[in-house]
Amino acid sequence: MNYSLPLLSIIIWLPVFSGGMIILATKLQGLSIALRYLAIIVELLTLMILSYVVWQFHGDMWQMQFAEHYKWLPNLGIEYALGVDGFSLPLAFLTAFMTLLVLIIAPTQVAPKDINPFYAIFLIMQGLMTGVFFATDAILFYVFFEAMMIPMFILIGLWGGENRVYATFKFILYTFIGSLFLLVALLYLHFVAINAGYTGVQTFAIDTLQHLTLSTTEQKYLFWAMLFAFAVKVPMWPVHTWLPDAHTEAPTGGSVILAAITLKIGGYGMLRFLLPMVPEACAAFATTIIVLSLIAIVYIGLVAIVQNDMKKLIAYSSIAHMGFVTLGIFAIFQIHSATNTAGMGIDGAMIQMISHGFISGGLFLCVGVLYSRLHTRKISDYGGVANTMPVFAAFFMLFALANVGLPGTSGFVGEFLIILTSFKASAWYTFFAAILFVLGVAYTLLMYKRVMYGAVTKNSIATLTDLGSAEKLAFVLLTIAILILGIWPNPLLQLMRGTSDHLVLQVLGSN
């Protein structure tokens, strides 16, 4: 395929440069409104280009499409190489979509004077995160992987809550510690590649690194190194404790993006790096990872029940739901029947990631709506909100139900597929995973009950105003996404059909 325009680069850099420009122009008072529209237009443009890519994308192929290759650091074997496949495209789309929502809802969340820098940071972050998904060179991936932390760091620090400093430092140091292992692992693979006779820009190409022959010992070390990096991002138990703090302290938009996108990078990394590069080690340690996932599901589900901070609760819920992702990914290694059914685990994990993006994003937006009105996140400060904000209550209920995996919403699809897969490995996995069905209801709807239900007893609640038009728009868009994905997930599955099948073949083909 020969496309004249480097579409992927445009998708990455257009928001980044626009964000930069907006920052530069922030001082010009007269342009304030114009810049705001510029941000939205850029975002819509990005989404349109992305939609075009989706439209032109061949779901049954596993090869990288729309690939771009430019010289970057040829001396070191590093290339500026981009491409999309069935895993990266949906996640990139999710990124742009969620950022759009954040931009739409932002004016209700931050002070007017901060709005432009706020927009700019989100645009930059969006570009960088899309870069993570599009990069087909390991080091380029790593660069984006780390670079997106900078705007996130500033975002939380600038607009976060009281405890933001602790949260940002915890978050960023956690992630950096994780990713350093990834870096060393990539460097190691690089030298294996060189020794295997690869030269030039191929030595850091993800594709090359996926096709190396590694001894079992090497695989084991590499596995843990890479796993650590991605496990922190996902986050898996027990390296999850950054997330409740970061989510809680981040401004609404930050929480949304953190939950919707940042966590997905961990899962994406597993699919892109861990599985194809060290399949034997993955198989060897699958039980460990599955057990960790199940701990995440049950333990974190329990922890979520006793939280008194809405954001913290949703954050913990995110961890539990991401436990499904890792469960789905690693359960495929223990399937004894025909391996072609393993694809369901991968599909489920992907769908779970996308859907969790929508749902947790929606929930954080809901908390943001409340927070922007009452400036508190404590559940006990609310009660009876449904009386004064009925429209909001409806949306919140929908997201809450999606969060508990109600069929018909996107939250169900991934969990369903993963549960189906997990049984093929062991009925116990299914049982423990299904416990989240109960715990999820317990924490989500308990929170909903305490916040929304009941009679209005506080003056502050009685004077609440229902959703504004911007908020409504954002919620409607999200609702549509959640319902469409829930009612008809097949188009998305077909989008990643080829990629997912190929991954399974790559990973389990030898069995």
């Binding site: 010289k71 970057w72 650091l73 040829p74 001396n75 070191l76 080091i139 790593y142 660069v143 984006f144 780390e146 670079a147 932390m149 900078i150 760091f153 500033i154 620090g157 600038l158 976060g160 933001r164 400093v165 940002t168 430092f169 960023i172 140091l173 950096f176 510690i177 350093l180 292992f181 870096l183 060393v184 460097l187 190691y188 690089h190 030298f191 070390y221 190194a225």
Partner: protein, 476 residues
């Protein structure tokens, strides 16, 4: 030794003459023409830089009995030294007025020091090396106290002096032992010796440790924080940037030319020093409140990385540590320049607290500082990342993955204190007394170059190939 060859030394000769001239002019005309020495020095460094790059050629040439090497390496390093010196002069112009420096002396001494460093980059025998080293450190001791009111500058200077001299002593004693073992001062003479006697080993170790001392590697690092903190920012900037390149140059010369064949003997020593430096430098920096002192400890950490690069260089080449050194010099330059931007009459931005809420008053300045801090922390896409990346790449290639991980862990711990500066600037409200972001503390040119300098850390991060190519040329 022909005439034609001496032309190759034109940069040094020109610099030496001009340095003397600056001294003279300072004595006789300074009170009449206020900035004459400044302008003259700028001119000198500028022309020297051009001469230096003029010596760039594909083949290596030796002058003065093979004791002085002119090759791509020396040409490029000299050029970079000149650029750094030029920046320092441009940045410090107003600052040294505010701090009441002795103009002529400051510039002349700096130029002499530069001369010494340039000599070091070309040194090919131990005598040249020793003289170059002394020529570059002695003026530095003096520069620290070229101020009307010395205060603790004198303390810093004397500490630097004593320890620097100790280093020189170790080096010299090592040289004497090596001479005893080989009977020659030529670097190349050592490389011929296959069987290392103990005396030669001892000499080698002492030389290495002497170099490590000047670098500021653990356990010879203790002078560094005191000197950084105790000097005026302009001097700290001088001490914190150029010498690193010069010392790296001499380390390269000695280790590749003299001890290249016996790398097995010293690699582990350097590796251990490097790891210790990374660990102790980064940890100690966390407890610091003074930003210059913090940067001093961070320097120790960075030196550790350079040493790690050197430790694996015999197998992997000197590209990575050279790249690191150059990048580090520019990052440190930007950092000190930005600290200097906060200076005002009677006020020196020294404590991290002084940066509190800087984003409110001077968003650009805060942003540049942010870039610099992230660059120092080695976060991509800033250029500091590629520096670390190259080093790590070499370490992993040498089978030192464990050391790479160890070093990286402490580098991440180091991120903490860099980010703390960002935190103070961005996440906290300004303190009661307003910032002294005076326009007057740096000339317009200086301000522009600071701007370019800091932004370059980002730009080069996007296209790091530029510097890598330059470094590659140095070894061609």
């Amino acid at each position: 030794m022909g005439k034609a060859n001496l032309i190759l030394m034109l940069p040094e000769i020109f610099l030496a003459c001009m340095a003397l001239l600056v001294l003279m002019v300072g004595v006789f005309w300074e009170h009449k023409l206020r900035y004459i020495t400044y302008r003259l020095s700028i001119f000198t460094v500028f022309v020297t830089g051009i001469f230096a790059i003029g010596t760039y050629s594909e083949s290596m040439q030796a002058v003065i009995n093979n004791s002085y090497l002119m090759d791509n390496f020396s040409a490029i390093l000299k050029f970079i030294l000149c650029i750094l010196m030029l920046c320092i002069f441009l940045y410090s112009k107003v600052y040294i007025d505010i701090r009441k420096f002795l103009h002529a002396e400051f510039f002349a001494l700096s130029l002499f020091s530069l001369l010494g460093m340039m000599v070091l980059t070309s040194a090919a025998d131990f005598l040249t090396m020793f003289l170059g080293l002394e020529l570059f450190v002695l003026p530095l001791y003096a520069t620290i106290v070229m101020v009307k009111h010395q205060g603790r500058y004198a303390e810093a200077a004397i500490k630097y002096f004593i320890i620097g001299s100790l280093g020189a002593g170790l080096l010299l004693y090592g040289i004497s032992l090596v001479y005893g073992a080989t009977g020659s001062f030529d670097f190349s003479a050592v490389s011929g010796v296959q069987d290392l006697q103990h005396i030669l080993q001892l000499g080698m170790i002492l030389i290495l440790l002497g170099i490590a001392l000047e670098f500021g590697a653990v356990p010879f690092h203790m002078w560094l924080p005191d000197v950084y903190e105790g000097s005026a920012t302009a001097v700290t900037m001088l001490i914190g940037t150029l010498p690193k390149i010069a010392i790296f140059a001499i380390a390269y010369r000695v280790l590749s030319l003299a001890f290249g064949d016996v790398a097995l003997y010293w690699q582990q020593v350097i590796l251990i020093l490097g790891l210790l430096s990374v660990i102790i430098g980064n940890i100690a920096a966390i407890a610091q409140y003074n930003i210059k002192r913090m940067l001093a400890y961070s320097t120790i950490g960075h030196v550790g990385f350079i040493l790690l690069g050197i430790a694996v260089a015999p197998q992997q080449g000197y590209l990575a540590p050279l790249f690191y050194t150059i990048i580090y010099a520019f990052m440190a330059l930007a950092a000190f320049a930005l600290i200097m931007r906060l200076t005002a009459q009677g006020f020196e931005a020294e404590n991290i607290e002084d940066f509190r809420g800087l984003n409110r008053h001077a968003p650009w300045l805060a942003f540049l500082m942010l870039l610099t801090m992230f660059a120092l922390a080695g976060v991509p896409p800033l250029v500091g990342f590629y520096a670390k990346f190259l080093i790590l790449q070499n370490m992993v290639a040498n089978g030192l993955s464990w050391a790479a991980i160890l070093a990286l862990i402490f580098a991440v711990i180091g991120t903490f204190y860099y980010l703390r500066v960002v935190k103070v600037m961005y996440f906290e409200e300004p303190s009661a007394h307003p910032h002294a972001v005076a326009v007057a503390n740096m000339s317009f040119v200086g301000r522009s170059i600071v701007f370019i300098n800091a932004l370059a850390l980002l730009a080069l991060g996007v296209i790091p190939g530029l510097i890598v190519d330059i470094c590659l040329k140095a070894f061609r």
